[in-house]
């Protein structure tokens, strides 16, 4: 007899307002315990600094590098809170994916575009985010969300610029999504 394998569908997403409150509490606890908030881009910048420290130390250990302060006086750029936090983000994301049956190797894209086009757009978008978050001194979490939580002007300006620019240009890139 043929074995029928019934695969249960993924569970529904959490209510967004509940998720927001839980995320807000996480931010408060982060400030309460560690003096600083959440962050994602910092860990990758530090990762890049670490690789540069190994392969092109003359560059990163000079004023010509944006990451000089990460490695100054023989410091290890990875010995930082944000590096541990991003490891946690991967672990937490994986746990939620596993518990909600969403673990699946997949290149997600609109049915109107090819996987190849989505792949190119993802890389370009990522690169722009890398440059933008360097100028912005943090990304949507570190500069935006933390900034708004502590009512920093920088946070409101960065968030306003990210979403404001997004809405202005969305029409030109609509074919990627709708």
């Amino acid at each position: 007899m043929e074995e029928v394998k019934i695969q249960k569908p993924p569970k529904k997403y959490m209510n967004p307002y509940l998720a927001g409150v839980l995320l807000g509490i996480t931010i408060i606890l982060s400030f309460f315990f560690t003096r600083e908030g959440l962050g994602a881009s910092g860990a990758f910048k530090r990762g890049v600094a670490k690789v540069e420290q190994i392969i092109i130390p003359a560059h990163v250990e000079s004023e010509n590098s944006a990451f000089y302060h990460y490695v100054k006086d023989g410091k290890d750029p990875l010995k930082n809170r944000l590096v541990y936090m991003i490891i946690g983000v991967f672990v937490g994301g994986f746990l939620s994916g596993a518990l909600n049956r969403r673990l699946k190797l997949k290149l997600e894209h609109s049915p109107k575009i090819t996987s190849r086009k989505r792949a190119v757009a993802a890389i370009i978008g990522g690169a722009l985010f890398g440059i933008g978050s360097a100028f912005g001194r943090g990304c949507t979490s570190g500069a935006g969300l933390d900034g708004m939580a502590v009512l920093a002007t920088s946070g409101f300006v960065v968030v306003g610029m990210i979403f404001g620019t997004g809405y202005v240009i969305a029409w030109f890139f609509r074919k990627l999504w709708i």
Partner: protein, 195 residues
Amino acid sequence: MGPLFNASDEWSFVIALVIGIAFGYILESAGFSSSRKLAGVFYGYDFVVLQVFFTAAITAAIGLLFFEYFGWIDLSAIWINRFYTGSAILGGAIMGFGFVIGGFCPGTSACASAIGKIDAMLFLGGFVIGVVIFDAFYPLYEKFYKSGNQGPVKIYESLGMNREVFLLIFVAFAIFAFAATAYIQQKVSQKSKKY
């Protein structure tokens, strides 16, 4: 009284790991592991980004204020990002392009990579390339990057407002945005059903 540890204390590393797990878990649970869901905020078919993001910001801002009232935290001791006018505006604009084109931001792409999204892994690869590019040409814009430093200035100071009044307006604005986006989302999904 908080903050209990300095960001560079080793205890902070352990706590950051736990906080990161919560961060990643919540992002994935809310659907931030899907680029199509995230991009919906720009096209009106899914506003989950706005709902989660602003609820989190308000919860944290009000919570931190209460922590201060109860004497649990010294808000003057926590880290406030410095505001470099030009660099923050330019950086935000470039990130806006990155979000619409790439469909992720760094945190969401990390959590989406963790559940196997290949587009998220490519986004992260692109992110690293962007960081390397920024560093490679750093001397060209170093002056701009470091100009216009206004220090750890607060939004209510910039606007010449009382802190509590600003927070009240912020909450009212968010509630209005939640209602408006719920209405738009309903309209857009009705419209797309017709086709």
